[in-house]
């Protein structure tokens, strides 16, 4: 391990490390596939060894050696504390709000943290037909809090999503309560440029952290709304050599 490891990392690596750090030891985490799964698995190897990973395939407490390609790879069942049916994972485990953190990706996200993974363009004549909802609407509704991991660009960060697949803060304050959604919504959006968090009053996502080397102008240029910065905008701690080494063992880079 060389000393310049600390600066030799990609923006995706920074994003994954920043996401992993948000998980606290002993929490339960409902994990979406892709970037969220990599970040959750990294957390289990760094700051949160007793993180409980829950996949919608019904595996509770999975301990995969490597992040699985799908949410139902064999290693998840083999290493889980319990494997339950798909109806049970949604009804008994997700729906009552007993899971601490939902980790989601997004194709589009808007200023109120609403997520689109359904269509770009009109629903009945889509420009791009995306995979759809999966477990996301109910993960976004029911987990105590939600962390979204998504690369930042004007295509993805839009004023208003083309289709609300999963509700963030709807059209603003009070909407989650009005809709009867039990979780507190997207508390953190982690991108390859920085970290956004909802303004406690207006629920709008504002920039609270920039990753090292990224400027506020760059973040604004990659956002489809007038991105506000928090008064105490900070720089993310770069990945430590240990974090980076653990991540690269996971991703095989």
């Amino acid at each position: 391990m060389t000393t310049d490891l600390g600066t030799d990392y990609t923006s995706d690596e920074m994003m994954t490390v920043a996401a992993a750090r948000r998980l606290r030891d002993g929490q339960s985490c409902f994990v979406g596939i892709g970037l969220p799964s990599t970040a959750a698995n990294l957390a289990r190897r760094t700051n949160a060894p007793d993180l409980v990973l829950i996949y919608e395939s019904g595996t509770i407490g999975a301990k995969p050696d490597l992040p699985p390609l799908s949410i139902g790879d064999g290693v998840l069942a083999e290493t889980a504390d319990a494997v339950v049916s798909v109806p049970e994972i949604f009804n008994y485990w997700l729906q009552p709000g007993r899971i601490d953190v939902g980790f989601l990706g997004a194709a589009q996200i808007d200023r109120f943290g609403n997520i689109n993974t359904t269509v770009i363009g009109p629903y009945d004549d889509p420009k791009v037909r995306l995979p759809g909802a999966g477990g996301a609407p109910e993960i976004a509704a029911s987990c105590r809090e939600v962390t979204v991991i998504v690369r930042q660009s004007r295509r993805a960060f839009v004023e208003r999503v083309d289709f609300v697949t999963s509700v963030g803060f709807g059209s603003g304050p009070g909407d989650r309560e009005r809709l009867g959604l039990r979780g507190s919504g997207p508390r953190t959006v982690i991108t390859d440029l920085g970290i956004l968090e909802p303004d406690p009053v207006g629920c709008e996502l504002v920039l609270t952290h920039l990753h090292p080397g990224v400027t506020l102008d760059q973040a604004r240029a990659a956002t489809g709304w007038e991105l506000a910065a928090a008064p105490d905008l900070r720089e993310t701690e770069p990945p430590t050599p240990d974090e980076l080494a653990a991540l690269r063992r996971l991703t095989g880079r």
């Binding site: 390609l69 064999g74 049916s85 798909v86 109806p87 629903y123 759809g132 999966g134 109910e138 509704a141």
Partner: protein
């Protein structure tokens, strides 16, 4: 009591043009062999029901078996899009595809209602999303005790359910383990059912994590070793992740896709 018959015979008897067919298996135990047999038998106008269409329904849609798709997540898990599904929705190729779109929680509960002989299921779901505006089978329902508004979905009761499992005995009792998804619900919700298995055995030896579907609740069982590839059957095979990655290229182009199907399935 389920009868054990060859796969081609079971499909011919159970799956008819214009019917609704649920093929389940959540990443694990996806009934590819049965799906390919349906393609070979040239079924048309099917309403295909499946939480995660996966490559299987990408193939069936691309080969023109489907009139309608009921689903909750139509992607190639961990890889990206299902290009045949997208081509059908965006460009009506090879035929228009009606879609009825849900969330996982919604379809899972619709199967539970179907298996339970109830006309609908209740869940905390969909609220605030744009799905109810586009899917007629999502409605509000009010709790008669608290007045709280929740969401209802109607039961799914397919004409046929098709699932894959590890083992069956000769009386048609079926054993499956690992990730068992929504397969029990799909079979119990369906009017008729077909279970393909890796292996027929004399006796189902009890196994940790295994569930058993009694033969008297199943119509037919067919032996289909390797019948879940490129998905997997825990204890018999591992997921062919390379194939899932390779499918992204195969499925992307209409001609490449048709050529592949001709060579490997037809």
């Amino acid at each position: 009591m389920a009868t054990v018959v060859p796969l081609a015979e079971a499909v011919a008897e159970l799956v008819h043009d214009g019917e609704s067919v649920a093929m389940e298996g959540f990443t694990h135990l996806i009934p590819y062999a049965a799906g390919h047999e349906i393609i070979r038998q040239g079924r048309r106008d099917l309403t295909l029901i499946r939480m995660t269409p996966d490559l299987l329904y990408d193939q069936m849609i691309g080969m023109g078996c489907a009139r309608k798709l009921v689903f909750s997540w139509g992607g190639n898990p961990g890889v990206g899009s299902l290009h045949r599904f997208r081509d059908a929705v965006q460009n009506r190729w090879p035929a228009p595809l009606e879609i009825e779109e849900h969330s996982h929680a919604g379809i899972a509960n619709a199967y539970v209602a179907g298996a339970s002989g109830l006309p609908f299921a209740v869940l905390r779901g969909y609220r605030g999303t744009d799905l109810p505006a586009h899917t007629a089978t999502i409605k509000p329902i009010t709790c008669p005790f608290t007045g709280e508004e929740l969401t209802a979905v109607p039961a799914i009761n397919p004409d046929v359910a098709v699932v894959h499992a590890q083992r069956a005995d000769r009386r048609g009792n079926v054993q499956l383990w690992g990730i068992t998804g929504v397969q029990k619900e799909a079979v119990l919700a369906a009017r008729r059912s077909l279970v393909t298995v890796e292996e027929l055995v004399d006796e189902l030896e009890p196994r940790p994590g295994a569930i058993v579907l009694p033969g008297w609740a199943i119509t037919h069982v067919s032996e289909a070793p390797g019948g879940s590839h490129p998905s997997y059957s825990a204890g018999y095979s591992t997921r062919d992740n390379d194939f899932y990655l390779a499918w992204d290229e195969i499925g992307r182009d209409r001609e490449t896709f048709v050529a592949w199907m001709k060579e490997h399935v037809l």
